[in-house]
């Protein structure tokens, strides 16, 4: 430590000396400020976040990642803005634990709101440092200096100027920022630097294109599945036919014809490795295994919701002032003139990412073990691999490489653990990729749920009591964090005991009712360990299902009180920005007030419009869905979606719009198709036939996006906010079209045809 401080003092003293002898007109001398070598990563060091390269460009080191919505470009814009550099000269290096501090990875749509804010503050501090260096070198006062495109010049003597590159290019800042002591999403830094006034923004509000698009289309970029190392082996798992079963005996002679193949078996973990990928696939299929007799762990799917209703609660929770005064809730309902109640049911859903997860681990017990992963948490996943392999966290480097899609805690976190187990077992680098049945069938699921909503009305139809209750499987039967092997499928298979989080969630909106009570109960998992129905985060965790229930019920109450659904919301929503999104969506979509389902028909085709609204960590979204229901086939087509979106200041309108379009279409898929099927023994949704998603022919015909830009409000996340209300808007539109109130999803032809019109 002392040595480090001494070296820093030495270097900064040298820098000052150089500045003092600098002659006018030779500002282009090689930079000597800062450090020649990057100091070790430390959240307190400015150099951990940002550097000026020899050519005057800047690189920001992002401990989060972009999962394909352009978060890194948004961050580049934020950094460019504070540094007064063109965005074309700002680069973002992300998701490598060797180059960035742990900002929590891609998590909760915090890439811009948290991760970006930290890098923005670091950029402002870097600019402050650079201006101070320039003041010394040019021998002028710092407040006489202005910065344009990385050139610092004197306002009074414009010929006095120096570039960022000339000051410190290729060297490292040797100063500190004020760190809040946290890692992960909550990591934040501050500095004395004054942030730019939003009225002076030039880079915000523009739409530079993403940098990963061309490599992805030209085929010049690498995915995690494309990582190859010398001597690397390919691995595949052999999964049990009945969830919970373990191998009793393994007949290795059944695969002896395959060259170089090896069986890896530790408790329930059974897999094969081979030098050739196809050989590993073949061996995993040919290997003869005797499995333990085990009780079929699951209830019959038709009894799923009855099972949840009847299961004992192992954890209760909720929100709001009435958690402590439940009696007041009962009183309010007792005093109501009329009580309306409805129950909504939502199935398990699967990430079903485009490709099964893949990870490569190069286990080096006496050096640095490296993990290449498509996971959203490369830093934490590296810690998890270290724990699994009995290494120290600093002995594992986690490197994120774009993966085959990820929408939260998908199977990527498990693949990292599997690759680590394989690599340690064979002492060689191993590439593990799951097969499709594992991706869809064995990946983490969003938890199935039952939501019961009650409203108490007075004699004038005013809502005087509101109770929203969820009973569901755990929100985080496996944590999304990935730093603990107990939260991985393959960790559990080698015997690490699971430790569920036991938590759920509540609706997010600003409805104001006299008594508003939000509560939940979590029920036990049907299979304790290594379950293909273990639950975790799927894009906008719990959002689609909770708000399906909430916003469907809001419509039910509106119609029950002879109100128009838009007017009803505007009446009870208390936040002006929330009202603005509802208003904007209604206006843009040409909403016609109604107090009952309109049931517009043209032959067999019924057409309807439905609204839903929700908030998510400061982002508010209202959507009006227009659907067509083919009353003969029962098929629903999402025709048009009008989305009004307020996430504070808009950084990149084009990328934000496309992020919203993706959310709408993915949510439509979840609304009309997605339901994890299972029998008593195992999950039976194992491919795209048994877990269908939205087809190209079913894409929304039109998506209109209204971006409400709040110039003076810092940016909130936009990765998930518009996922949240879509399912409910579709349900409400189906009701408007047909008079069928669907209280169980997804909205398949069977359910439409089974509904009473």
């Amino acid at each position: 430590m002392n040595q480090q401080i001494n070296r820093r003092n030495f270097l900064s003293a040298t820098g000052a000396l150089t500045v003092s002898v600098m002659m006018p007109g030779i500002a282009a001398a090689a930079p000597t400020a800062g450090l020649a070598k990057r100091p070790p990563l430390d959240p307190k060091k400015l150099a951990s976040y940002i550097t000026i390269n020899a050519n005057g460009t800047a690189t920001a080191y992002f401990g989060k990642m972009d999962m394909g919505q352009g978060t890194d470009m948004g961050v580049a814009q934020m950094v460019a803005e504070e540094l007064d550099l063109p965005v074309s000269r700002v680069f973002v290096e992300m998701g490598d634990s060797a180059s960035s501090v742990n900002q929590g990875g891609a998590s909760g749509s915090t890439g811009v709101s948290h991760g970006g804010a930290t890098l923005r503050n670091a950029a402002a501090e870097a600019r402050r440092q650079l201006v101070n260096m320039a003041a010394q070198r040019l021998n002028v006062a710092a407040d006489d200096l202005t910065v344009t495109d990385g050139v610092i010049s004197s306002k009074t003597t414009p010929t006095k100027k120096v570039t960022y590159g000339e000051l410190i290019g290729g060297r490292w800042f040797d100063s500190e920022v004020e760190w809040n002591g946290k890692i992960g999403n909550d990591l934040a830094v501050k500095s004395p630097a004054k942030l730019k006034d939003p009225k002076d923004y030039k880079v915000y509000g523009t739409s530079p294109p993403r940098r990963d698009v061309a490599p992805k289309i030209l085929g010049t970029g690498k995915f995690v599945t494309d990582i190859r190392l010398p001597g690397m082996l390919h691995a595949r798992m052999v999964m049990p036919p009945v969830a919970g079963a373990e191998p009793v005996s393994v007949d290795e002679s059944s695969i002896k014809s395959i060259p170089g193949v090896k069986v890896i078996w530790q408790k329930a973990f059974l897999g094969v490795v081979a030098p050739k990928e196809w050989d590993a696939v073949k061996a995993s299929r040919m290997l003869k295994v005797t499995w333990s007799e085990t009780k079929a762990p699951f209830v019959e799917q038709k009894n799923l919701y009855d099972h949840i209703r009847g299961a004992k609660s192992i954890k209760s929770g909720g929100e709001g002032p009435f958690m402590k005064e439940p009696a007041k809730v009962d009183e309010a309902f007792k005093s109501a003139e009329r009580v309306i109640e409805a129950t909504y049911e939502w199935p398990f859903q699967s990430h079903a990412s485009m490709g099964p997860a893949c990870a490569v681990v190069d286990y080096k017990p006496n050096g640095i073990t490296t993990l290449w992963t498509g996971s959203q948490k490369p830093h934490f996943a590296g810690d998890g691999v270290a724990a699994l392999l009995d290494l120290k966290p600093e002995q594992v480097r986690g490197i994120w490489v774009p993966g085959p899609g990820s929408y939260g805690r998908n199977d990527a976190g498990d693949a990292a653990a599997a690759a680590a187990i394989f690599s340690k077992a064979v002492g060689k680098p191993v590439r593990f990729q799951a097969m499709r049945n594992e991706a869809t069938g064995w990946g983490p699921k969003s938890p199935a749920s039952v939501h019961t909503v009650r409203a108490g009305l007075d004699k004038d139809g005013k809502v005087v009591a509101w109770h929203f209750h969820s009973k569901a499987f755990d929100r985080l039967n496996v944590s999304s964090n990935e730093s603990d092997p107990s939260d991985t499928l393959h960790g559990q298979m080698i015997g690490v005991k699971p430790k569920a989080q036991l938590t759920y969630g509540s609706p997010s909106n600003s409805y104001k009712f006299d008594v508003r009570h939000l509560s939940w109960d979590v029920v036990p998992p049907m299979l304790e360990s290594a379950s293909p129905l273990r639950s975790s985060h799927l894009r906008d965790p719990l959002g689609p299902e909770i708000h399906f229930a909430h916003e469907s019920f809001v419509d039910e109450v509106a119609f029950a009180t002879n109100s128009d659904p838009v007017a009803f919301r505007l009446n009870y929503v208390s936040d002006q920005r929330d009202k603005d999104v509802i208003d904007a969506a209604a206006k843009k979509a040409g909403w016609q007030p109604r107090t009952a389902a309109r049931k517009q028909r043209d032959g067999d085709i019924a057409t309807g419009q439905g609204i839903a609204y929700s908030t998510r960590n400061g982002t508010r979204v209202a959507v009006i869905a227009e659907v067509e229901v083919d009353t003969k086939t029962g098929k629903v087509r999402g025709k048009k979606f009008t989305v009004a979106h307020d996430c504070g200041i808009v950084i990149n309108p084009q990328l934000l719009t496309q992020t919203i379009e993706g959310n709408v279409s993915q949510a439509l898929s979840r609304a009309i198709h997605e339901e994890v099927k299972f029998d008593t023994k195992n999950v039976t949704s194992v491919d795209w036939e048994t877990y269908p998603i939205l087809d190209f022919t079913e894409r929304p015909m039109q998506i209109d996006v209204v971006l409400i830009n709040r110039q003076n409000i810092p940016p909130n996340g936009a990765g998930e906010g518009s996922m949240r209300p879509i399912v409910a808007a579709v349900a409400n539109a189906i009701y408007d079209a047909t008079g069928i109130r669907l209280r169980q999803g997804p909205f398949t032809p069977e359910r439409i045809k089974g509904g009473a019109a």
Partner: protein, 152 residues
Amino acid sequence: MAKIALNVDGKSHTINADPDMPLLYALRDDLGLDNPKFGCGLAQCGACTVIIDGQAVRSCVTPVDSVGKGKVTTLAGIQKNGVPHKVQAAFIAEQVPQCGYCMNGWVMTTVALLEKTPKPTDKQIEDALTGLKCRCATHVSIMRAVKRAAQA
């Protein structure tokens, strides 16, 4: 195991492989051509698509010895003299991909479509692209890009 000759992106190769091994593994594992992706191994998603003699083909279910003298084209082989194919240019201009893992299938299938039907109707585009999967749900961007490519 057998010696199998393949013509891929204008180059001849001979590999030593199981005749029933899917072409996908020959391309990726033997030839290091990584653009065809493993998505399902069941011909249900299209991420592994290559073009063989003008036809979009799912390489994950195509036995390698069935290719014969067929000329295989991968995503890496559709550029001419370093200039992106017009379908690639359109997909880039429309900023289509999110995770991007499926894009190989959409681009290659669109290339095959426009070879046969340079000015497709919306219905012809849907008929060609139905069945391909995009889990990030970029379908509306894909439609814009295909139309842009058809107009180029």
